[in-house]
Amino acid sequence: MVGIVIVSHSKKVADGLYELADQMTGGKIRIGKSGGTKDGRLGTNVDEIVEEIKKCESGDGVLVLVDLGSSVMSAQMALEFLDGEYAGKVEIADAPLVEGTIAASVEASIGSDILKVKEVAEAAKNLVKI
């Protein structure tokens, strides 16, 4: 199963979104989260993102979902810091964080591959709500 890693500037956002995604998937997939800095400020934590990706990789790859600005750059740096064995297996989705995470988690839980999970996450950009 593809793993999902949530990256936000806010620990509360990451925790809350984890809760939503976990409820939708009932523990079928590995979901990781990194919100805020090491010392509890708003911001991102490259080292923690690296650790969460490692925890969520079970052989089928990991999709990383990000919120604003430095989340993208921190996730990219995390990918660079990961060893060769993760090469080509970890992707960052260009997707809205909340909707993208839910869509990706559900898609991962039905056994789709990393590229399909990423595609579904990114399609959440076009979700019509009203």
Binding site: R41, G43, Q76, M77
Partner: protein, 216 residues
């Protein structure tokens, strides 16, 4: 005439002053960021450079390239905002450019600055005129290269680079942000000085002031 070179202790002395300058300007940079961003630039950078100060003894016995790479790694791990990956990449790329060296000549200084700046551009996908740190760095690098090619010495060239960086900072007041949190404000960011360009200028000015005091 002796050619001016920077030794390893010059580099670590400059780092010490940069740490102090960022600490002194913590509130100033944060206030600039409060106007157009998320009010954390000074706080984040100060946090990162204080961590550099705490960890510096662990890599002080290494060559200049390794020291700079480690500075970058510490910034990436501790800053928390966009300036972490950006300045982190800057220092790591500078370190790669002078790998194994214990003394830097003019060519090394140009090469490391060039490598650092291209790293920032790749990381942030920004260019000159986007109201970012690049607006201070790119004119500084161009001026450094121009002055050296005209035969001016390193002191004069780095001094001219710092002036060009300052003009770049002033320019950021007149343009709209295209990158970072300030870009959410669009045209309303005009009139405000960019905090990233300001911190970049402060670092370049620190190098210029230090080099200016060295014996030629």
């Amino acid at each position: 005439m002796m050619i001016l070179m920077l030794t390893k202790s010059d580099v670590t002395n400059i780092l010490d002053v940069i740490i102090k300058i960022i600490e002194d300007n913590r509130q100033y940079l944060t206030d600039l960021d409060a106007a157009i961003g998320d009010a954390d630039h000074g706080i984040n950078l100060d946090r990162g450079f204080k961590a550099v100060r705490d960890k510096m003894t662990q890599f002080l016995d290494k060559d200049i390239g390794t020291i700079l790479k480690n500075v970058g790694m510490v910034l990436v791990s501790t800053v928390g905002g966009a300036s972490g990956p950006l300045y982190g990449t800057f220092f790591m790329r500078m370190g790669n450019a002078v790998s194994g060296k214990s003394v830097l000549d003019e060519n090394d200084i140009v090469a490391m600055f060039e490598a650092g700046l291209s790293g920032i551009k790749e990381r942030g996908k920004a260019q000159f005129g986007d109201k970012t740190m690049i607006d201070a760095m790119e004119p500084a690098l161009n001026e450094l290269k121009k002055a050296l090619s005209e035969g001016r010495n390193l002191k004069e060239a780095i001094g001219a680079a710092a002036n060009a960086a300052y003009n770049g900072v002033l320019m950021t007041k007149d343009i709209a942000a295209k990158k970072g949190r300030a870009s959410y404000l669009g045209e309303r960011s005009i009139g405000h000085q960019d905090p990233g360009a300001t911190s970049a200028y402060l670092m370049i000015k620190t190098v210029a002031d230090y080099v200016d005091k060295l014996q030629q």
